[in-house]
Structure formats: C-alpha cells, structure tokens
C-alpha cells in the first residue's frame, strides 16, 4: 500500500516530481512489466525462437510505453481532466482521417503517422473513457435522472462507434459502446434506461444483420458452430482450442508447441498469442498470466475506489474496465467462447498502438492514485 500523502489544498505547492515519482504505485508498474515480459517471451517463441521480428520491437515499444506511462503518471489528474476533451477530439480526428485517407484495400484500421502505423480505435478506447468521465464529473448527481442529459454522452459514444463500424470493425464498435455504457452505469444512470437500450439493440439485430459484411456474418455463424467450416473461418478457433487443450496442465515446454510451430495456428503473434502460452506452458502458464491480469485489475479498482473526485473514479474504473474487456474478449475468443472480433491480448499481443494507449491509460490511473485525495470542482477551475 502507498504511504498516505498529506492532504493537499489548493494553493499548496505540489510536491516535487521526484517525490511524486517515488510515491507511484510501483507494484502496478512491475505487474504491467511482467505481463509485457511474458509477451516478449511468447513473441520470441512465435518467431520460432528468434528475437526478430517481433520480440525485439516489442521491447522497444514497451520502453517507449513505459516512458509515456510515467509522464502521464507525473502529470496531475487535474491536467488529464482538462485534457480529456482535446484528447477525445484528437482521437475522433484520427478516426475521421483514417476513414478519409483509407486506401480502400479493406480492413482499414491503421493510419500512417510520421512513419508509424497507428490504430486510432485503440486510442479512442482510452479517450472515450476520459471524455465521458469528464462529462459525468461536470454533471450534477441530482440531474442524473434527466433524460436530455443523456443526449451528449450518447453522441460522444456514437460518433467513434459509427466511425469504427465504417472501417468496418464490428468488434471494436461494440467494445466502445460497452465502455461508454460502463461509465454511464457507474455514474448512476438508471438501470431501466439500459434495459430500454438493450431492447432497442435486440430489435435492431435483424436490421443490422442485413447491413453486416458477409465475412462478419460468417464469423458470427462460425462462432456459433466452428465445426461447420473447419478449413475456413472456423479453422482459427478449432486450431486455437486444440492448441490450448493439448497444452494440458504443464504444457509442451518452451518452443515445444506443435500447433504453433507447425503453423496450424497462424497469426499467433497478434490476436492468437494466448494459445502459445497455453500450449507451451499449459494451464499453469495461462493461470499465471490470468492472475497477473487479475492483480492489475484489482489494484486499479482499489485505486479508483479511493479517489475523491468523480473524474478520477470514473476514469480509473473506465480504463480498468477497458483493460478487462480486452483480456476477457481476447481470451474468450481464443477459447471459442466469443466470435473472432480482432481484439489483442493487452500488453502481450504484438501491436504498438494498443500497448501505448493502455500504458498511457495506466499512467492516468497512477496519476489519479497520486492525486487521489485532491478534490476538483465541476468546472475544474482554480478556486
């Protein structure tokens, strides 16, 4: 547990940056680093026992991500509260740019910025949390039941969701909606309103079904019964489940996974990386990772529960929930419990944007932790 910080009142000089750095929740940073280390080991295995091309790059990315996390953590939570709207607008701009600049080659989820390929939707997951937290920080608690005050958050969710859906990326769109719903839920929006939305969604399913791309429909159908298409869409899931199951309790040993190394399971450095861990290190290996994730989530939730301001609480819980959704959807997907929607395993899968944005998110959590006792007004103005 962190040492208690002296209660800060506005006007007090903030403690020095070094002091703040030393008082960060380092257990959380260590847990994140351990997860990333597992990722590097798995990428090394995925490359057939080589650092190139993935493991070495992933280490560099994690180093960058760690710096971003520390910078975010050192910035005061008040700063992030103020930055929420610009960050959101920036993410929306990226998504719009993505939609406009898309080369039309399909699966346009990346955008090139200064030589890097970034995935705007990954940034949006964090940005959406921040902007909704900012909104509910502003909203008075007694107004929570007013219907017209739901319009803005729905728009805030709807714009990125629609843009992502255009890409087309149904999975991420659903995740964005879920994240938004989680923040609204935490803010106290009445449960029956969620019920109405759920009913509306259910009613819309037949309509949406007709709008879906063939491959998306096929993915959902195959999810319902992967055996129907053992060499096509269902192949991934079947082989992934075989990789997991055949790992058994203790696994086949490092670099000993036959499913992986004989290419029965392609794309195993990105979304299907968990089967490497499960096949080579077995149930026990998988359990270690799951427990690390659980630890990270528990620590983060603990931080959120102790924050004084609504913005900090909502941001921490929102980011943690996002992180949880990543973990759950990815693992449920590779275990054949959910359709294949293209969600990476956080900090483990090879991919820069999701790692950077998640580490940034944890930086904000750490910032919230450092400033947990600070109270910030609705308008975040200096009092």
């Amino acid at each position: 547990m962190a040492r208690p910080l002296p209660l800060l009142r506005s006007g007090d000089t903030p403690p020095g940056l070094l002091d703040r750095l030393l008082r960060l929740r380092w257990t959380l940073i260590i847990a994140l680093t351990l997860v990333a280390a597992i990722g590097v080991v798995l990428l090394y295995s995925a490359a057939g026992g080589k650092m190139a091309p993935w493991a070495s790059t992933q280490i560099q990315r994690f180093a960058v991500a760690l710096v971003i996390l520390l910078i975010a953590a050192l910035a005061p939570i008040r700063f992030w509260l103020r930055a929420s709207v610009p960050v959101y607008l920036f993410a929306v701009a990226l998504l719009v740019a993505n939609a406009l600049l898309g080369t039309g080659a399909g699966a346009e989820r990346w955008i090139g910025v200064a030589g890097f390929k970034i995935q705007p939707s990954e940034i949006m997951k964090i940005a959406l949390v921040m902007v909704l937290a900012r909104y509910y920080h502003w909203q008075r608690h007694e107004d929570i039941g007013r219907l017209h005050l739901l319009i803005l958050p729905v728009i805030l969710i709807g714009i990125p969701a629609a843009l992502v859906l255009k890409q087309p990326d149904l999975g991420t769109a659903v995740i964005l909606c879920a994240i938004g719903a989680a923040i609204m839920f935490l803010s106290g929006v009445k449960l029956w309103k969620f019920g109405v939305v759920a009913a509306a969604v259910a009613g819309a399913i037949p309509v949406v079904w007709n709008l879906l791309h063939g491959y998306q429909r096929q993915r959902i159908l195959t999810f319902l019964d992967p055996e129907t298409d053992p060499l096509g869409t269902g192949y991934h899931v079947i082989q992934s489940v075989i990789a997991l199951g055949s790992g058994g309790l203790w696994g086949k040993g490092f670099l000993g996974g036959t499913q992986i190394h004989l290419n029965f399971l392609p794309e195993n450095h990105t979304d299907f990386i968990f089967p490497i861990l499960a096949e080579e290190f077995g149930f026990m290996g998988g359990l270690v990772l799951v427990l690390l994730y659980a630890f990270i989530i528990a620590v983060s939730l603990g931080i959120g529960a102790r924050c004084r301001t609504q913005y900090a609480r909502l941001t921490v819980y929102g980011i943690t929930t996002t992180f949880f959704l990543y973990v759950f959807i990815n693992m449920a997907m590779v275990m054949g419990m959910l359709p294949v929607v293209g969600v990476p395993l956080p900090l483990v899968s090879y991919g820069g944007t999701s790692m950077l944005s998640l580490m940034f998110g944890f930086g904000v959590i750490l910032s919230a932790h450092a400033d947990r006792n600070e109270w910030i007004s609705r308008f975040a103005d200096e009092e």
């Binding site: 007694e142 929570i144 199951g245 055949s246 004989l262 149930f283 799951v290 949880f324 693992m331 449920a332």
Partner: protein
C-alpha cells in the same frame, strides 16, 4: 457542490462499482473455468487432436522378393521407376495438372478414365496414380514445369519387371489390389495404390512370401502438409526371394520351340526330384503389361481370345490323352493278371462289340499283335481288347496310381483335375449307366478321359521310375532328393511297358522311329498320341477318313507325345501337346525330341555326363557355370 451531494455521488458510484466488479469476477471465473475445462479436464482429447494434426503415418511397402530360376538367374525382378500421383483433396485444378503432365508424358484416354473412376471410388486423401514408369528425365521436366501444382506428387518406386516373356504363364504377374483381395485384417499396404499382389502363377502361389510385410514411417507435418522431419521408422520385412525349379535356358528354348504352333503346351519334369524344369503354353502374353494394370480393352481381348493366351494349358488345359494312355491300360491289364506280356490279339482293323464297330487307326489292321507291338505300333484294337477284358474300374485305378484324374499338387494356381471316368462317376454326373463301348474307347484314351499335359509328364516320370514322382515349381531349402514312394507296380510289368516305349522310338516300325534321338546316351523312350476331337461317321469311314490337313484347324486331331530320357537311366520326363496338330508322331514327337535333347545336352554341358542333373537339390550351378 455540497459535501452531502458528493457523498451521495460516491455512494452511487460504490454501489455501481461493486456491481461492475461482480460482473467482471463472474466473467473472469467463466474464463478460468473454460481454461480448466480445456486444459485439464479435456487435455487428453486435445492432445490426441494435436497429434493427429501433426503426425502422419506413411506405410512403407517392402521390396517384393525376386523369383529366381534354379541357377539363381532372376526371372522376376524389381525395377526402379518414377510415378506421378495426385492427392484428390489437395487438387484445385485437375485439368491443369493433367495438361501439364501430358506435356511431359503421354496420358491416354484410358488413363483419364481410370483417374476419374478412381477419383469417385477412393477416399479423397488417398493418392491416385496418374502415370507410372516415368524416367528421371521426364520427372525433371515435370518438376520444372509444375512445381506449384497443388496435389501433385512424384514418387520413386519399384515396379515389377519380367525379363523373360518365355516364363509368362509360370511366373504369372502382379497387379493392383482389387476390392476382392481386401479382407479385414490385411496388411495396411493393401490400401496403397502402388501396392501390387500376385494375380497368377508363382507370383500368386507365393505371394505371401514374396510380398513381405509393410513397415511404417511416422513423420511430423506442418499445416500445409509438408513433412518436417521423420519421427520414427519401423522397417517392414522385405519379401523373400523364391527359387523356382525352372531352368530359364531350357524354358526359353521350350517356349521358343512351341511358339511356332498356334496353340500348344509342353512340360519337362526332372524324374528324380519332380522339379519342373520347363513349362510353357502357347500363345502367351506380355506379363509386364499387367504390372501397372492393363486396359480393359486389352484385358477383354486376352480373355475372349479362343486360343486362351492367359491360360497355362500345361496345367489348366485338358485333353483326351489318346494313345499316350495305352501304357497305362497295358499296366492295368498286367496288374490284373488278365493279360500277360505275351498275350496276343488279332487286329483285323476293327473291334466289334455287339453291333458297334471300333476302328484301328490302320485300316488294314496289324494282324497278330503282342503287348510290345501294341504299344510300339499303337494298335487300337489290341487295347480295345484289353480294356474290354479288364473293365473301366481297373483302368481308372491304374490311372489314379499314375497321377491322372486328380491334381498333381503342383504349386501353381488353377490346376485342373482332368477326368478318369468310372461307372459310379457317370451315374452321378451324367445320370446314365456305363456302356461297355465306353470302356473300349477309354482303352485308347478317348471318350470321357481327360488329362492335363503336366499329368501326362508326371505319368511318364512314374512309368520311367515306378515311383510316385510328384511335380513341384519351387524347391524346399536344403531338402535333398525327395524320397518318392514306390507305386507298388510289378517291376517286370513296368519293364515290359518301358521296353515297349523304347520300341516306339528306337525300333523300326515304332510310330516315332523317325524322330528318335540318334545319340545313344541321349536316347528317349516315348509314346505318340493322336486324340480325336470329332466323331467319324460310318459314312465318312466308308468314303475314307478325311485327312487332317483337309479339315478346318479346330476339327483336326490333337497331337500328343510323352517321353522320358535317357532310356537306360531316365532323368527327364516330357509331355507335349500340339492342339489340332494332326498326328502325334509328326507334330508332337519332334518337339519332345528337341526338348529332351536340349535338356540332356544342357546337363552334360553344366555338370558333365555322370554328375547329377543341374542343381538337383544341391548347391551346384550358378550363373557362370550355367553359361559355361
């Protein structure tokens, strides 16, 4: 901004947060349960699936054993060649594959038909043979032209090859496994398209020995089916070589000698061992054509050919033995005591029984005929008399003792039993009583009597030795000379018959005197036979019997000759039949003479005049010696 409202807000948050966390714990628990279910509870099932993914077991066909002649000369061998296969489930574009392969090696319409037929019948992952017998150059060309064709495979393999056409019938051939050959529990190599089993001849009789048993090669494959490495190999058992009793040199001579005839068969048996030194049947076929599976058209034409090229007439063809039967009738008579060696009958040219008349081949008759002259001059009336006196049962019993009327037990498939009739047989199968006239015609080997050329060769061997010589195609290892039991025939009777047979060839007036072997040490004893295949009517006989050369081929008499040599120390027994060849003395005896002379000369050339015949159960012989 009252603190109270803050607390309200925080309470709401705490309540909602607890619900959210509860939901997360539930979902997390579901994940862990699924993981546990897959990796611990069902680990074995998935381990098997994963192994099935990566492990592929290849059946290894062992090389088929060779068949050697008695001197070790290979007469059925394995030749290395290349074959193109397709794996139907991997094939994306069959037409493309066919056209590419066709640019290198000809693909006939029959090949195409066979492929599409097998493609429907066989399972999708079983490779189909597209074309066999490719050379290395053709394979190289194909690999350059078609490295990227999915489902195409090139394999190196061994194909059966028969260097000598002369042995076709005895060796038989191998062919693809048909559904009939598949029985549960069979070696898994039976399911491989390139596997061949013996379909006829020695290849069939000794198939079990020759084919060995399959091995397995367990390999690891990757997702695209490419072999990564070999994990285990269990070598099979190579097929054993089989050493036949044949002398390929004599066999080639014999086959060549009778190849001039339209349809004929001949057998040479080593009298001491029962070894079949040579056995041939005309017309023959090209055995190598069967190895890759012959076309239905060729098969039909071989099957429907009236001359029966696929039939080994030496064991499957049955012929009335004609006069070659007479020694046997004489022995039966002597054995019964009803006639003596000096018993004479008058031959007026015919034998009357009631109102029926049975004619002698010589119109004017032979006058007073003794047993010796009866055989030597082949007097029909003499044997009408003997047969009529002793009855069909005694003839039958002696025939059986001499190896007729039953399979000789030769180790070849499809041997015929022939037929030696009795009254009981006729009652059972013809549903009629036995007439005395039928005994009379049986006395000269006509009527119901049927024999195979091999049986006649065995009969000659038994007549020459008095022992129950049994023929064989393959010698048992290190068994030495077989010990044939005596037939229990009075040696004096036997000697009288042998002397008469010698008279046939070596005494003036003998029916085959003109085809005798002049060299004394090689001299043979024999008996001509001319068996009628048509009925000569009373009217024709009155006009004068039409001569053979004036008849259509298929109505002419069969020509037969049985013999053994050398006459004073018999070693070789031979029988020759030339279908519709006319008279035995003119068509069959010269063949027998040439064969016996060749056999004896080969023997004296290889082991000298006094030594044992080539390789008789000993380790003599070998390539060099044989050539010497």
């Amino acid at each position: 901004m009252s603190a109270l409202k803050d607390i309200d807000q925080q309470r709401t948050f705490a309540r909602r947060a607890a619900m959210l966390v509860g939901g997360q714990i539930l979902l997390g628990g579901a994940l862990l349960w699924r993981m546990f279910d897959l990796q611990v509870r069902n680990a074995e099932k998935y381990a098997v699936l994963s192994e099935e993914n990566r492990i592929n077991t290849h059946i290894l066909i062992p090389p088929r054993g060779r068949i050697l002649d008695r001197f070790g000369v290979p007469i059925a061998i394995n030749q290395e060649d290349y074959r193109v296969l397709i794996v139907p489930e991997q094939v994306r574009n069959l037409a493309q594959i066919l056209s590419r392969v066709a640019s290198v090696v000809e693909i006939t319409d029959e090949d195409r038909a066979r492929i599409s037929r097998n493609r429907r019948r066989r399972r999708r992952f079983q490779p189909l043979v597209l074309k066999t017998g490719l050379t290395w150059e053709q394979v190289a060309k194909l690999e350059i032209n078609a490295p990227d064709l999915a489902g195409l495979r090139i394999e190196r393999g061994l194909s059966r090859n028969y260097p000598y056409d002369a042995v076709a019938h005895v060796l038989g051939y191998v062919g693809p496994v048909t559904d009939r050959d598949k029985r549960p529990g069979r070696d898994p190599m039976f399911d491989l398209p390139e596997f061949r089993i013996g379909k006829a001849g020695l290849e069939r009789t000794y198939d079990q020995l020759l084919r060995g048993s399959s091995g397995t090669k367990v390999v690891e494959i990757n997702a695209s089916g490419r072999v990564q490495r070999e994990l285990r190999r269990k070598p099979g058992t190579a097929g054993a070589d089989v050493t036949s009793t044949l002398d390929i040199g004599l066999q080639a001579y014999l086959a060549g000698r009778i190849a001039k005839e339209k349809a004929a068969a001949a057998v040479v048996v080593d009298i001491l061992t029962g070894d079949v030194l040579a056995m041939a049947s005309t017309p023959g076929y090209e055995p190598n054509a069967f190895v890759q599976g012959i076309s239905p058209k060729t098969w039909r034409s071989l099957r429907t050919n009236p001359l029966g090229p696929l039939t080994n007439k030496a064991i499957s063809g049955t012929y009335a033995p004609g006069s070659t039967f007479k020694m046997l009738v004489a022995l039966a008579g002597l054995d019964s005591g009803l006639i003596k060696p000096h018993t004479g009958f008058v031959c007026p040219g015919h034998f009357s029984l009631g109102s029926a008349r049975f004619h002698c081949w010589r119109r004017g008759g032979h006058g007073v005929v003794s047993l010796h002259n009866g055989i030597k001059q082949s007097c029909d009336v003499y044997f009408y008399n003997v047969a009529h006196r002793i009855g069909i049962q005694r003839i039958h019993d002696m025939a059986v003792r001499l190896g007729l009327g039953a399979r000789t037990g030769i180790d070849l498939p499809r041997e015929n039993t022939g037929l030696i009739p009795t009254a009981a047989w006729k009652k059972k199968y013809v549903r009629d009583r036995w007439y005395p006239g039928e005994t009379v015609v049986a006395g000269i080997g006509q009527g119901y009597v049927l024999t195979t050329p091999l049986q006649l060769a065995v009969m000659s061997a038994r007549l020459a030795t008095g022992k129950a010589v049994t023929p064989r195609m393959v010698r048992k290892e290190d068994a030495g000379l077989p010990d044939f039991s005596s037939m229990g025939i009075n040696p004096r009777h036997l000697a009288a018959v042998q002397k008469a047979m010698s008279g046939v060839t070596n005494e003036p007036g003998g029916t085959a005197f003109w085809t005798r072997i002049v060299e004394k040490q090689f001299a043979m004893a024999g008996k001509t036979g001319t068996s009628q295949v048509r009925r000569i009517t009373r009217a024709e006989r009155a006009r004068g019997v039409i001569r053979n050369k004036d008849l259509p081929w298929e109505r002419r008499d069969h020509a037969l000759f049985v013999a053994f040599a050398p006459v004073d120390n018999p070693r070789y027994a031979v029988s020759v039949i030339v279908e519709h060849g006319g008279s035995g003395s003119r068509a069959a005896a010269p063949v027998a003479k040439d064969i016996l002379l060749t056999a004896q000369k080969r023997r004296s050339a290889t082991v000298g005049p006094t030594g044992p015949a080539g390789g008789s159960g000993t380790k003599t012989g070998g390539k060099g010696e044989r050539r010497g």
